[in-house]
């Protein structure tokens, strides 16, 4: 079912996630290739965000969360009890659905992460490169000392991307980063993704088929079934392949229906 990935940076090995007694997503096997963009698509509630949050242990913040299986990062189990989740999150950054800049200046938003990790270099330079790589430098170079909240929604989101790359992670997780943005801002963020691909591995959740086609190399289609003996839907990984395969030559009927927009 899963294609062979020569150089996987993250691998899910039979991952099943529960929130309390409720199984949100089950039996996920998945290899994320290095320096590629992987898209997660599928109807809402099928566990895309849940799986994504397993990659940087963001789910630790949710009290009812529990996980079975393994998530390997460069071959190392992220859920090994000896692993420090803080260190994991430094290596695997995240950008959220809603732009969430800190209520600090634009400059401080970028410098924050670098500073807490003991960055010793030229901070001004780091701020500039990060903002440039996130394609938002031109819009904020004249107001670095203004609050990050003074930017528009699309600019805020790119500021958050800049904030994520400023700590030099290996992987950037993006959970529907464009769903709160207008089409123009969305295009700008997509351009940013293309530029970032060379240095980072990106995993992006999206509801927008065209976006998945435009930005991703690999696509994972998640689906949900009625779980027996439970009141909710249980998510699973339905199909995972190169993006062009998923969209042009899907193996399963469900995938076909979803990518052609005939899904319920």
């Amino acid at each position: 079912m899963t294609p062979s990935i020569a150089d996987a940076i993250i691998s899910c090995d039979n991952v099943t996630v529960n929130y309390g007694a409720f199984a949100a997503v089950r039996n996920v096997f998945l290899d994320i290739p290095r320096h590629k963009v992987t898209a997660f698509i599928g109807p809402s509630g099928c566990g895309k965000s849940t799986v994504l949050r397993c990659f940087n242990r963001m789910n630790d913040l949710i009290e009812s969360f529990s996980m079975k299986g393994k998530v390997l990062f460069n071959g190392k189990d992220l859920y090994d009890p000896r692993v420090d989740p803080v260190e994991v999150r430094r290596r695997i950054g995240m950008v959220f659905q809603k732009p969430n800049p800190f209520p600090k200046t634009i400059y401080e938003n970028i410098a924050f992460g670098a500073r807490i990790h003991g960055f010793r270099g030229d901070m001004d330079e780091l701020v500039e490169t990060s903002l440039r790589r996130a394609a938002v430098w031109d819009e904020c170079k004249d107001k670095l000392q203004e609050s990050g909240l003074s930017l528009s929604g699309g600019q805020q989101q790119r500021l958050c991307i800049a904030r994520a790359i400023a700590v030099e992670p290996e992987v950037i997780l993006m959970d529907e980063p464009c769903s709160a943005l207008d089409p123009i801002s969305t295009l700008k963020v997509e351009e940013t993704l293309h530029a970032l691909k060379k240095n980072f591995t990106i995993v992006i959740v999206t509801h927008n088929m065209q976006q998945a086609v435009r930005v991703s190399d690999m696509t994972a289609f998640y689906n949900a079934v009625d779980a027996e003996g439970s009141d909710g839907m249980m998510g699973y990984l339905a199909e995972y392949n190169e993006t062009k395969e998923i969209f042009n030559n899907p193996k399963s009927e469900d995938t076909k229906e979803y990518v052609t927009g005939r899904f319920g």
């Binding site: 963001m58 913040l61 009290e63 969430n100 924050f112 700590v167």
Partner: protein, 342 residues
């Protein structure tokens, strides 16, 4: 065919009367505030009762004011404000025999007990609030602890005072080594032997804790979850995110809560009166008996007459102005620092 049916005129009248009634009731609040300031101010400036303000009163002060400075006819009616002027605030003697009154000791006691209490209660309260908003314990247990702390706010201050009196000797045993080893510090320079200022401050801490904890907890809870996630996502540790993101985002509420608590500390009466010793001698030592404005009022008002009553109202006026300023500052700070994040 519909006809527009006019409501009966009685309905309109009831409506109008109701609206007017609520506005009158609302005005009662403002009138009460003005009344308090006016009455306390009046009693501080004049001796005698407020009914002499009525022009037809047999002793109406209006006749006296016509003869403004005439000692014989009116001078006896002047109260503490004209007698002692602003020197009242800097005079540390409170002598009913010589009728010489100054509020320096209770003002110092008020400020010192409040400052000490705040100094201890703010870190304790904010720390507890952090403990109750972070995932140290399961949500259920945290809710129980939060409820317990809220209950603490409901215990009457006189009961805390009674408890403090019963516990006095145990606390003195704690204070004594401080005096023995650090007695060269002016704050510890007297031997603790009975009710004292330090005890009063400690009881104030117990009273302020629930206020500060509750307000800080609410404002920390209002910080959007996304902000915390944002901090964690760049690899912040729990405490980096608390100190650099969560507390700054909640600072307006926290500072507002601390100011609110300060207002309460300045005016807190019963527990302090029962444990501070009510001495009007000025002493820098925290282990000496002292007094606050509120304890002075509670302790002396019953037996006071003439100019002493007026002097007590003068002290009350000072207390009112202090708490008023603190409360207004609290409101301004909350508005100023309020985080615009949605």
């Amino acid at each position: 065919m519909f006809t527009h049916k006019k409501p009966p005129w009685t309905e309109k009248l009831v409506d109008r009367a109701f609206i007017h009634m609520t506005s009158v009731l609302a005005s009662v609040v403002s009138l009460t505030v003005l009344g308090i300031f006016f009455t306390v101010g009046f009693q501080a400036v004049f001796q005698g009762d407020v009914s002499s303000l009525l022009p037809w009163h047999q002793d109406s002060i209006w006749q006296g004011i016509a003869a403004w400075n005439d000692e014989e006819t009116f001078g006896v009616r002047w109260g503490a404000v004209p007698h002692f002027g602003l020197g009242f605030l800097a005079n540390s003697s409170w002598n009913p025999v010589r009728n010489d009154y100054g509020a320096l000791t209770p003002i110092y006691g008020t400020l010192m007990t409040s400052a000490l209490a705040l100094l201890l209660a703010v870190p304790l309260g904010v720390g507890t609030a952090v403990f109750l908003t972070e995932d140290f314990l399961p949500q259920k247990l945290r809710a129980v602890i939060g409820f317990i702390v809220e209950l603490l706010a409901a215990i009457p201050s006189v009961v805390l005072g009674l408890w403090a009196v019963a516990m006095l000797n145990r606390f003195l045993a704690v204070f004594t080594p401080l005096y023995a080893h650090l007695g060269w510090l002016p704050f510890f320079s007297t031997e603790p032997g009975g009710p004292n200022l330090a005890m009063a401050s400690l009881i104030l801490v117990v009273m302020l804790l629930p206020i500060i904890t509750a307000v800080s907890r609410d404002s920390l809870n209002q910080v959007p979850m996304e902000l915390r996630q944002g901090a964690y996502a760049v690899g912040a540790t729990r405490w980096t995110s608390i100190f650099q993101v969560l507390i700054p985002a909640a600072i307006s509420g926290i500072v507002g809560g601390a100011m609110l608590a300060l207002g309460r500390a300045l005016g807190e009466t019963m527990a302090v009166t029962m444990i501070i010793g009510n001495s009007t001698n000025l002493s820098t030592s925290w282990f000496s008996p002292s007094s606050t404005i509120a304890s002075l009022l509670a302790n002396q008002f019953g037996e006071a007459d003439d100019i002493q009553v007026s002097a007590l109202y003068y002290a009350a006026l000072v207390l009112m102005i202090l708490t008023f300023l603190v409360n207004v500052c609290a409101q301004v700070i909350v508005k100023r620092l309020a985080l615009k994040y949605d």
